[in-house]
Amino acid sequence: MNKKYLLIGLILAFIAYAGYTFSESITPYVGIEEAKISASNVQVKGLLDKTVTPHMEGDDFVFSLQEEENPEITLLVKYHGMKPDQFDEAFHIVAVGKFQKNEEFFKADKLLIKCPSKYEGQK
């Protein structure tokens, strides 16, 4: 009987751990303005802001995102890594990460590039 309780305890402990991990890793989908005030990890979607030339700063790839409906709103993104494939052809870029309030830029851990090409859907 003891072993049974051990098993149930193990499962309950795992579920608690899973709940905690979930709350840690959930990243809501927000607009640029909301991203700037959010304290946790978020996903921001936008267009490439053509006024800033994407470039490398040390090991970071730096570019600017632009809100689709309102091009005035922009967000400077630093991605730790190299320029992703098909970045130049992207019509949408999704940056996953967190806004650094003191340094005024968005630190991205991951970039999703949405391309108008075949596998990613037509038109």
């Binding site: 890793s25 890594g81 075949k118 990613e120």
Partner: protein, 707 residues
């Protein structure tokens, strides 16, 4: 039209067949003959429809939207074949083709009870309805002489075979589902259908697994996918049915020992096939558009898939509830010290893994329904799956220790010694590879122990040969994931041409770029410890990067993975040249002397625009003829050498009155080849063990079907 008509015929045949079977009229003449005709006609109709699509692709019939979108006249043979399943519509057609053909074999072998075949044909009808909902035989809105062609990224032999292998897996998973539903409807005893189900599920599992592995291997050797596994929804949506089918396979074995497990088996069967449809729904409906790197965009097909998914799941669960009382009842195991208990515990763990992946990939959908869309990051999967994988390996290890039905410790002291050695090997190799996370080291150690215990069980003949190979594959695969993943180290570094650097314990020299303008690709050449490796970049028609592959140095201790960053030279000079006038850059003078436009004789929609431009450095004059190929939608042009290759020039536009042209002057090929390139360099310790283990899983699985 012809293709859709054939599909309609297939639908009619499979639907009427299934109605006859559900009415239970299949034993009486003439209905028994009609069933045979229905099965055959649906297969023949779908085959002809597929052959027709293939014919359309090969005859370059761009009147069809699908052909125009995924094929082009210059596509090589193998990629024309793969254009068949490059898009969603074609891949659905391939799915029903496999489903229908497997149906003929199943019918010939008399594998189904009456209603089982009914369920199978009903599923076939639903699949055909979905294909008709978004058919590959739609006419194109604008008919061109050439198609858009297959995405260069997908022009890879591995990518050509990946979709069909996955779809064989998906299609064949309908067999255990139909067998199970048929058994419930016809009140069959498990002995009558379990063996058939086992064989077909093994086959489906083997193919689905192989498809996933091929996709992973391809993702590893191209850039932009983030390695062999990125927890992307598209990847996850094929992983969940694979995991669930794995549970189903183990439950078949348990049910053979103890009939009381039959209800759990049916439950697993319903959820496995639902997961296939659900995954397709999630990735094909477009609702994940903003969350996945490669989901297809949205169409009405999403709603249909959701309905089909709901119907199959609810009908399956309803049927199981109704028939529950007729199924054998009782305990699933006697004591904890039996193999059946440990295997069930392992399957519970596997179910938790499936649940984690399922919840993770569904989160955008679930949160969207709740109001505010959100996704989980990849850390969610890794943090939860690692402890679960440790648990899974512990159960695999313990299960090898015990026999079915009785308390029976099978491994004696010499076995114990080898297990201790395996654990030590696991700990030493992971630590050597640089793994620091205790969870990851623990996973490496228990995986090694599980592999050794599996081998011991095989020596004691308590596991079959196929089972042994597949289980060794799974445990060694997890060990290899720890070694190559958690043990991977990366640096990013700028390397000048012919410079030798020392990184991560390897001597790496960058030899420069080589550009093959005729073959439409360029290579970045590196030397790792003296062996030459090349990173390939496929180019678009206008010379831009289309798809990139890293340079991979393969060694016994692991791979070195070099990903050069696309070098953009900033010294491109754009000039507008006026007719008859001389324009200068810092080196040469350029004069535009005329332009000719003529339709392309081989391809009348294209216009070939040839400009005549003279270039001089003061003494020599070089007259060149750069070309733009223009269609209604756009234009492409290639750079050409000028002044004996000292620079390159590209024609980018001609004014409407032909009074001026725009050109780009680029550095020479040698200069481009010598540019310092930043590269990300990483190690993948023992990654070959991962590839080997995937082969073992597939081979073991297919081997086991022989019995």
């Amino acid at each position: 039209m012809c293709g859709n008509l054939l599909l309609g015929l297939g639908l009619f045949a499979s639907l009427s067949g299934s109605i006859i079977l559900f009415c239970g009229a299949d034993k009486k003449a003439p209905f028994d003959k009609l069933i045979k005709i229905a099965v055959l006609i649906s297969a023949v109709a779908v085959s002809f429809s597929s052959a027709y699509l293939m014919y359309l692709i090969f005859s370059n019939n761009f009147e069809f939207e699908y052909v125009a979108s995924y094929s082009s006249t210059d596509l090589p043979f193998i990629y024309k074949v793969s254009a068949f399943w490059a898009g969603q519509q074609g891949s659905f057609l391939l799915w029903i083709l496999i489903h229908a053909l497997a149906g003929v074999i199943l019918y010939k072998n008399n594998s189904f009870s009456g209603k089982g075949l009914g369920v199978y044909l009903l599923v076939e009808s639903l699949l055909i309805i979905m294909t008709l909902g978004k058919s590959p035989f739609e006419p194109a809105e604008v008919v061109g002489v050439d198609g858009i062609g297959l995405n260069p990224l997908l022009q890879d032999p591995w990518m050509a075979i990946h979709p069909p292998v996955v779809f064989i897996g998906y299609a064949l998973l309908a067999v255990p589902f139909s067998l199970g539903m048929g058994a419930l409807l016809d009140d069959l005893d498990s002995r009558e259908w379990l063996e058939t189900s086992r064989k077909w599920t093994l086959m489906a599992w083997g193919f689905l697994g192989a498809g996933i592995f091929i996709g992973g291997y391809w993702a590893y050797k191209v850039l932009g996918w983030g390695g062999y596994w990125g927890w992307d929804p598209v990847e996850n949506s094929s992983l969940v049915p694979w995991l669930l089918a794995g549970i189903y396979l183990h439950l078949i074995k348990i049910t053979k020992i103890r009939k009381t497990a039959i209800a759990t088996l049916h439950l697993a069967g319903v959820f496995t096939y639902s997961a296939v449809i659900y995954g397709t729904f999630l990735t094909r409906s477009g609702i994940l558009g903003d969350f996945s790197v490669h989901s297809f965009s949205g169409t009405t097909i999403g709603l249909m898939l959701a309905v089909v998914n709901g119907v199959l799941l609810l009908a399956g669960l309803f049927l199981l509830t109704v028939k529950m009382k007729k199924l054998p009842q009782g305990k699933l195991y006697d004591t904890f010290s039996t193999r059946e208990f440990i295997v069930l515990l392992g399957m519970l763990t596997l179910m938790f893994i499936s649940l984690v992946v399922f919840l993770g990939m569904s989160m955008p959908l679930l949160t969207q329904l709740a109001g505010k869309a959100a996704a989980v990051d990849t850390g969610f999967y890794e943090k939860l799956c690692t402890p679960l994988a440790v648990m899974l390996m512990i159960t695999m290890f313990l299960a090898s220790w015990y026999g079915y039905g009785r308390e029976n410790v099978i491994v004696v002291t010499d076995g114990m010694k080898s297990v201790i050695i395996a654990v030590a090997l696991g700990v030493v190799s992971t630590t050597w590879a640089g793994v620091t996370s205790p969870f990851a080291i623990a996973l490496g150690a228990v995986s090694a122990a599980a592999a050794m215990a599996t081998w011991q069980a095989y020596k004691k003949k308590t596991i079959s040969t196929g089972g042994m190979i597949a289980h060794l594959g799974v445990s060694l695969g997890l060990l290899a994931m720890v070694l190559s993943g958690s043990g991977s180290k990366a640096v990013s570094q700028e390397i000048a041409q012919n410079e030798e650097i020392s990184a991560l314990g390897y001597n790496i020299t960058y030899k420069g770029q080589e550009i093959f303008s005729e073959a439409d690709y360029k290579e970045y050449i590196y030397e790792v410890n003296g062996s030459e490796v090349k990173a390939l970049t496929k180019l678009r028609k206008n010379g831009e990067d289309a798809a990139r592959e890293p340079a991979i140095y393969r060694g016994l201790l692991g791979d070195v993975y070099i990903a050069p960053s696309p070098a953009k030279f900033d010294n491109i000079i754009e000039m507008a040249l006026k007719f008859g006038k001389m324009d200068m850059d810092e080196q040469f003078g350029y004069r535009y002397e005329g332009v000719e436009m003529e339709p392309d004789s081989e391809n009348p929609v294209q216009t070939i625009i040839t400009a005549k431009i003279s270039i001089t450095d003061g003494t020599d004059i070089d007259t060149v003829y750069p070309v733009i190929t223009a269609t209604e939608t756009g234009a492409t042009s290639k750079p050409i050498d000028i002044m004996q290759g000292k620079k390159q020039l590209r024609l980018t536009g001609v004014s409407a009155d032909q009074k001026s042209v725009r050109v780009e002057v680029l550095p020479s090929r040698e200069e481009i080849a010598a540019i310092t390139v930043r590269a990300s360099i990483s190690t993948k310790p023992f990654i070959w063990l991962l590839w080997l283990s995937t082969v073992m899983v597939t081979a073991g699985c297919l081997w086991a079907t022989k019995k």
